[in-house]
Amino acid sequence: MSDRGTLRIQQISAHPGPVAGEGVQRQDKVCKLIDTTTCIGCKACEVACVEWNDMPFQTTYFDNTYQTMPDTDWNYWNLIKFNEDQHDNGSFAWLMRKHQCMHCEDPGCLRACPADGAIVQYSNGIVDFQQEHCIGCQFCVSGCPFNIPKFNPNTKKVYKCTLCSDRVGAGLEPACIKACPTGCLHFGTKDDMKFLAENRASQLREVSGFQNAGVYDPDTIGGTHVIYVLHDATKPERYGNLPAKPRIPLSFTVWKDIFKPIGLFGAMLGFVGVVMHYVFEGPRREQPAPPVVRIDPPPPPAGKEN
């Protein structure tokens, strides 16, 4: 799902040794900016994603919402979440949020993955799955704070948004950006997008009366390469389970990187232990054993035993 020719790799899941090519070429960090305040829920980006990635459409059902389906899927990587938000005074607003992979700077999926090369992070920040190396364990699902990787039971592989790494590698913007009619989606370097987002947020605070407007770029995972402008950045949960402080479970960081090798070392001490026992103490023979010719060194004098 990627174009390795033009994108340099910065991080590889479960990879022994150094990452070839890391830091060889300077690459700007890229970023997608989603301004939820100007999204009209037209779903043009959903269509563009399915079209560009040439995915078979998925049957869905009507469950009293405008949302295309309850959640993203292995063949549906980009979903506008239609969150109905009730205000204290009884009025109501739609908090529409384009939901897709956040391309985390510290990706929980990559941290969790046990397969060498199944998940890579490019120097420009894009996190991409390499299905040919995926073993289908779904640990990435558990490692991801945003519930993004989706399993295809037929291929036994996991899929998600690639941030159109194939297009970006060729100097194009992602397909969703190209399709958006309101200009609520932007794509560029992380610095530029951060600048644009902060500007828009202060405009919302100062001009439009959204006192809590702000930018969602959570630092618990080192920031993301997809950022949001929210009307109310203090409660991102209102936008359909967007976590305020996304975290990677310690199992995939502390346990996997530190205690797994130590634990293995500990277990192998059992092997060393039995070999050394044989060397130092020797076997217990069935009695009566053949007569002893010599014991080296001689046993301690009587009375001093044990």
Partner: protein
Amino acid sequence: MATSADRFVHRSNPIDRMGRTVVYTGELLRHPVYTRFLHWMVGIFFFLALLSGFGIYLPWIFRFFTPLFGGGATTRFLHPWFGLAFVFFFALQAINWLQVMRWTPDDSRWMKHIKQYVTRSDSVESPETGFFNAGQKMQFWEIVGGCVAYVITGVIMWLPEIFGRILVAISYVVHDISALVMLFGIFFHVYLSTFGEPGTIQAMTRGTVSEGWAWTHHPSWYKAVTGRDPAEALEEAKRRNTPPPLPPRTL
């Protein structure tokens, strides 16, 4: 002749009748065919699950294990089935051994002089050691507990859609710890049943052990099945083995 069957209820079943156990003079029946069959099924699936599991556990060290099973994806597919087969056969074995594995006051006493056992300071086991010693029983119960942990955490990781990411993340650690403890223990098991106590492995292959093995390693069991006192039997064997004194030399 009295057999180990007197010590725990083992009704002969179809698997026992498919094979045979030949007990020669000077030997005692230790494990019937059914027990041996289960033990080696457990052993086979344990190592299959272990190797396939370690291919996933630390692929940057154990990357050479996954090709043995047909690559990463196939290894991941097979591992749960190996594990289930291991647990299935071990569950049958646990039922088979439930009686003999019961912890007794003798076992607590045995644990008190475990240091002498490790340093081999006595030439034979302490007289209260029965069919299994306390160390063997501890390992058995560790495996029972480990199997329960494996199944619960394994199913959670197998069906993440149902259990959710946090339970999977916890299970992952518990599953790993269970594997590490069992791996640590299995070194002792394999060592003691081969090099560490010669004459033991035939208990699980041919199903019999020598009387000498029995009074050396499991004296109380020896007493129960033969009715003879293990210490006396040993003294008698020593007398039999000692060559007669040489005739006085005349110059």
